[in-house]
Symmetry: C2
Subunit: 321 residues, 2 copies
């Protein structure tokens, strides 16, 4: 859940004045996104989302995120489209923080994805990867191999408090994956955080993709591996092969996977599981005692990591090219 | 900020099915209300607010709250109007908790009220008091004299940790006010929590009143005393007499205050200040160390209480009948 910056009516009026969006009729903080404060702003013309970028987002990255949403929206991807002010700028300042307004997307995020949702995500991800071609800005993935190593350093000595043996496991995985991590696979702009929270559906039709604040340049198939981890496991952390196959097939129909990408899939999935295991472990260990916010359980990703370690090829995910 | 209960798409669909509200297009948790979980639910017909009643609300009180909103809305008060299902029931169950949908009100709450806003609140409160006449259900004010005594018992021994001398002061105030508390003043349904968060404006026009979950039967002028405390003090906790006069005059024009109510005003204001001092003190002392949620500072109401102790009659609030 987001932490909100309080915005006064005068601050809002001053911010809005620079945009041609109509008269404000409603303004409410919404529980969307964990890194930023988000508000639903309804004007006499349309609903909008106003995002205030809190300290976890590097301001230097904002032109990449804002530019990417504009680039994707212009290429037909249903994602938030930044609103430009009278000077043509999409990024402003509100309550002393960077802020932007984007279009409101219809749809609901699903808590329990079904096969159809997984197929929809596979298709949308492939379209997103294709639409990302030609986007001129670059952003390094800070949560890849080097980032994992840093997270291991910050968490290893307390990892066994969370699960016995976890310390050795994360050290070993970061080392093994660091050495075996594929290179030379097709790269481009990836979403890097396409969890169910960040995808909207109307019934079974995917209606939008949001939250591009982890987007970066990396291997496209790694993005697919993140989605497999995020969408295709059941509540008991076992893989649902039907869902995985549906996602991979749908992706492959739009952007056919190369033989090298298919061969690398178990390793990419393992890396994706380690990435979320480590960030959740870090958050888990960083929470002050007695805090009212419970971080996500890191052990979910430990179970997923173990599954991927046992996968020998893409058939473990129901995929046959 | 509210703590949200997670609602799955299946739970929502099952709940919505019983109401004739159209097809759901969007569903987002919103940061409104502190006792309940609130969601903005947009259908192809209209936006609605869905409220899930969390454990701080007594389910036995819900018919009073829901019925009151219906009663007031039917009498022209701009407040949330409960939506009835196919069986004519406004109160349903969602995720195992009582839940209701109400109409969405336009407007923004003001963080820094001006004189015009205070006048608007005075007028709206008087109209609300008149519209409440004839509402058949009753609810005792659990946060009046007896409630204060209970809160003093729960907080006194640690009160000096918050401010030196606070222990003696709350004991003395609860005793003095318990003995001097007026009776026989005109009574009726009061909102009892009409803070700036709970009032919407479009420009300077008051567009709606929300959050009736402290409403109860009590002296009408006590409700006005709560509003004086909530709206007419500056950031340095000094009374803005211009704002107080504007509020009292606007109230008096719609529902003329009796001589007994006017005479009791300083005492009622002092009681209202003690009520919020005590609940804030209780919340302040109840927060676990390291929690991410900061409760409201109780000392704001200590300063207000001291002001009211020095007020000899209604002229201290700029009011002359």
């Amino acid at each position: 859940m987001a932490v909100y910056t309080d915005i006064s009516e005068d601050q809002l009026a001053e911010f809005i004045r620079r945009y041609d969006v109509g008269t404000v009729l409603s303004f409410k903080g919404i529980a969307e996104g964990v890194e930023n404060s988000n508000f639903l702003l309804v004007t006499d013309r349309r609903p909008l989302i106003l995002t205030l970028y809190e300290k976890r987002v590097d301001p230097d990255d904002l032109p990449f995120f804002i530019g990417l949403m504009e680039h994707l929206a212009a290429r037909g991807i249903s994602c938030p489209t930044p609103i430009r002010d009278a000077d043509g700028k999409a990024l402003g300042t509100l309550a002393g923080k960077p802020a932007a307004m984007v279009t409101f997307l219809q749809g609901l995020s699903v808590k329990r994805p079904r096969r159809e949702h997984c197929a929809g995500v596979g298709e949308a991800l492939a379209k997103l990867h294709i639409a990302g071609e030609g986007f001129p800005l670059k952003r390094k993935n800070s949560l890849s191999v080097a980032g994992w190593r840093k997270l291991v350093e910050q968490t290893a000595d307390r990892a066994d408090m969370v699960a016995p043996g976890l310390r050795d496991l994360v050290i070993e995985e970061a080392t093994t994956l660091g050495q075996a991590w594929p290179f030379g696979l097709p790269g481009g702009v990836i979403h890097a955080d396409l969890f169910p929270d960040n995808v909207f559906f109307l019934g079974e039709r995917l209606s939008g993709v949001i939250d591009f604040y982890f987007a970066c340049n990396d291997m496209l198939a790694y993005d697919l591996a993140i989605c497999l981890n995020a969408w295709c496991f059941e509540a008991d952390f076992s893989l649902n092969v039907t869902k995985a196959k549906a996602m991979l097939d749908a992706y492959h129909r739009v952007r056919p996977l190369g033989a090298d990408e298919i061969a690398a899939l178990p390793l990419l999935c393992r890396g994706a599981a380690l990435r979320f295991l480590l960030t959740r472990l870090y958050d888990w260990l960083s929470v002050p005692p007695g805090a009212l916010v419970t971080p996500k359980n890191p052990l979910e990703y430990l179970a997923k990591l173990r599954f991927h370690r046992g996968a020998t090829d893409a058939s473990a995910y129901g995929f046959a090219a």
